[in-house]
C-alpha cells in the first residue's frame, strides 16, 4: 500500500472534500430532474394544487374563503351573510360568498 506524506495527505483531503461536493451537487441536480419528471409524469397527483372539489371541501370545514365587498361596510356584509345563512338553514361555514355589491341607496 502506498503511504502519502503530510503534504500529499492535505492535497488528498482537499480532493476528497471536492469529490464529496461534486457527487452531492450532481445528486442535487439529479433530484431537480426527478422532481421535474415526476411533475410531468404524475401531474394529477401533485399535492401542491388540490382539485377544485378539494378546495370547496376545505372551505366547508371552517372558512368560506374571501368575499369581495363593493361599497359595503364590513358590519353590513357580516349581517347579510348571517341573514342568508339563517334563511337557507345552512351553517355559515358551508356557504361560499363570492362578492356583496351595493346596488343603490
Amino acid at each position: 500500500m502506498v503511504e502519502y506524506s503530510i503534504w500529499e495527505t492535505i492535497l488528498l483531503s482537499v480532493l476528497g472534500i471536492i469529490a464529496v461536493f461534486i457527487v452531492l451537487a450532481v445528486l442535487m441536480l439529479f433530484i431537480k430532474v426527478i422532481t421535474f419528471v415526476s411533475r410531468v409524469a404524475g401531474g394529477k397527483e401533485k399535492p401542491a394544487t388540490p382539485a377544485a372539489s378539494d378546495k370547496l371541501a376545505a372551505y366547508a370545514k371552517g372558512s368560506c374563503g374571501d368575499v369581495k365587498l363593493h361599497n359595503v361596510p364590513d358590519k353590513d356584509a357580516a349581517m347579510i351573510m348571517a341573514i342568508v345563512a339563517d334563511k337557507l338553514k345552512t351553517p355559515l361555514n358551508e356557504l361560499r360568498f363570492i362578492s356583496i355589491k351595493m346596488i343603490g341607496e
Binding site: 483531503s13 442535487m28 439529479f30 422532481t35
Partner: protein
C-alpha cells in the same frame, strides 16, 4: 484428603480467576462496566453501546474462549480454523468481517428514513457535503500523529458520525482498530447534544439563529419512488466501493416508499434491524481485547474522533452561513450542523438551538434534509477513502 485437595486445586486452575494473567484484563472489565453504565444509566446510544460493552466484557473475561483475535489478524482468514475451534463471538464476527452487518443496518436505516425533506430542498445535499469536512481534517491530524495511511483513513471516518459506515471502512482498512473506532464513533454520536451547541453558538449570530425558514413543499410519491433507484444507479456507477452501503440504504428506502412491500419495510425497520444490532454490537465489542485496546493509540483515536466531530459541525455551519448570505437570509445556518449524519440527533439539536433563539422557530424538518444528506455524504467520503487506501 489428597483427592479433595486435587479437586479444589483443579477447580481453581480451570476457573477464570486463575486465568487472569494480565492486570489490563481487569482494567478492561472495569471499562466495559463503565460503558454499560453510560449506556444504561446515561442512555448514550444504548441500543448499540450496551451490546458493545457486553461484548467487550465477554471477550476480556479469561478463558471464556468466545473470541480468538489470532484467527482474524491473518491477512487471509482461515475459515476452517474458525469453524473448527471458534467461539460464539468468532461466528458472530464473520458478519462484521464480511461487511454484512453494516450493510444490513443500512437496509434498516433506509427503511426508517424519510428523504422527503431533502427532496423538497435539494440544496440541503450541499450542507451534507460540507459537514464531511471533519473526516478530512481528522485524516490530516491522524497522519500528523503518526498513524499509517490506512489506519488514519479508518479513524477519520469517525467524523462522518455514522456508525455502520465507520465499521464498514474500518473492517476493510484497519480491522485491528475496530473496537476503539466503533466505541469512539458511537460515544461521540451520543454526545452530539453536548458537542455541537457551543460550536453552533460560537459560529452564528443571534440574528442568524432567529431566522425562520419557509415551509417545505410536499413531495409526491413518484419522486420518493424514483429517488432510491436513481441514487443507487448514479452513486454506484461513480463509487462502486460503496455499493453495499448505498445499495442497502436505498433498497430499504424503496421498501418503505414503493407502497407494495410494507411487510418487508416493517421487517427491515424492526426485526431485522434489532437482530443485526445485537450481533453487530456484541461482535464489535469483542474486538476490544485488552492487549489491543489499552494503548496510546486508543487515546489518540478518542482525541481525533472529537476533533473530527467538531470540524464536521464547523464545516456544516460555515456552509450554512454562506447559504444564508446567498439566499439573502432565507436559510438558517443552524441547519448546517445537522449535515453530520447522526440521524435524527443532529437535526434535533438544530431544532433546539433554533427554538432557543426564537421560540416560534421550527427547524426540525429543514434540518432533516442535511441530516439524511449527511448519511449519503459520509458514504461517498468512505468510498473515496476506500479507493485511496483500500
Amino acid at each position: 484428603m489428597h483427592m479433595i485437595r486435587d479437586i479444589i486445586f483443579g477447580l481453581w486452575e480451570s476457573s477464570g480467576l486463575a486465568g487472569i494473567a494480565d492486570p489490563r484484563q481487569i482494567i478492561m472489565i472495569l471499562i466495559s462496566c463503565f460503558l454499560l453504565y453510560l449506556g444504561i444509566k446515561k442512555k448514550f446510544e444504548p441500543l448499540l453501546l450496551v451490546g458493545i460493552a457486553f461484548g467487550m466484557l465477554l471477550t476480556n473475561l479469561p478463558m471464556s474462549g468466545l473470541y480468538h483475535p489470532e484467527f482474524w489478524s491473518l491477512a487471509e482468514v482461515n475459515y476452517s480454523d474458525v469453524f473448527h475451534s471458534g467461539g460464539l463471538l468468532d461466528f458472530l464476527y464473520i458478519g462484521v468481517k464480511t461487511g454484512i452487518y453494516p450493510s444490513l443496518i443500512f437496509l434498516g436505516v433506509g427503511a426508517m428514513t424519510d428523504f422527503g425533506p431533502m427532496l423538497s430542498n435539494p440544496k440541503s445535499l450541499l450542507l451534507g457535503a460540507a459537514a464531511q469536512l471533519g473526516i478530512y481534517c481528522a485524516l490530516i491530524l491522524a497522519i500528523v500523529l503518526g498513524f499509517p495511511g490506512n489506519v488514519a483513513a479508518a479513524i477519520a471516518i469517525i467524523g462522518g458520525a455514522d456508525g455502520p459506515t465507520a465499521i464498514y471502512v474500518t473492517k476493510i482498512l484497519a480491522p485491528e482498530y475496530l473496537g476503539p473506532i466503533a466505541i469512539a464513533a458511537y460515544s461521540y454520536m451520543a454526545l452530539i447534544p453536548l458537542i455541537q451547541p457551543p460550536i453552533m453558538r460560537a459560529l452564528t449570530t443571534q440574528k442568524e439563529r432567529e431566522i425562520k425558514m419557509d415551509q417545505l413543499r410536499e413531495v409526491s410519491k413518484l419522486e420518493k419512488i424514483i429517488f432510491p433507484i436513481a441514487v443507487t444507479i448514479f452513486t454506484v456507477l461513480i463509487l462502486p466501493s460503496v455499493a453495499p452501503l448505498i445499495g442497502c440504504l436505498m433498497l430499504g428506502n424503496l421498501f418503505r416508499e414503493c407502497g407494495v412491500t410494507d411487510r418487508l419495510s416493517d421487517t427491515a425497520q424492526n426485526a431485522l434491524m434489532n437482530i443485526v444490532t445485537i450481533f453487530l454490537g456484541v461482535s464489535v465489542g469483542a474486538t476490544a481485547i485488552y492487549s489491543r485496546f489499552l494503548s496510546l493509540d486508543t487515546i489518540k483515536i478518542i482525541f481525533i474522533g472529537l476533533f473530527a466531530f467538531s470540524f464536521s459541525t464547523v464545516g456544516g455551519l460555515l456552509f450554512g452561513k454562506l447559504m444564508c448570505r446567498l439566499s439573502k437570509g432565507k436559510i438558517n445556518p443552524l441547519i448546517g450542523s445537522a449535515g453530520v449524519s447522526a440521524v435524527p440527533m443532529a437535526a434535533r439539536v438544530s431544532q433546539i438551538e433554533g427554538q432557543k433563539a426564537n421560540p416560534s422557530n421550527f427547524l426540525l424538518m429543514h434540518a432533516m434534509g442535511p441530516n439524511v444528506a449527511g448519511v449519503i455524504g459520509s458514504a461517498v467520503a468512505a468510498g473515496f477513502l476506500l479507493y485511496i487506501y483500500g
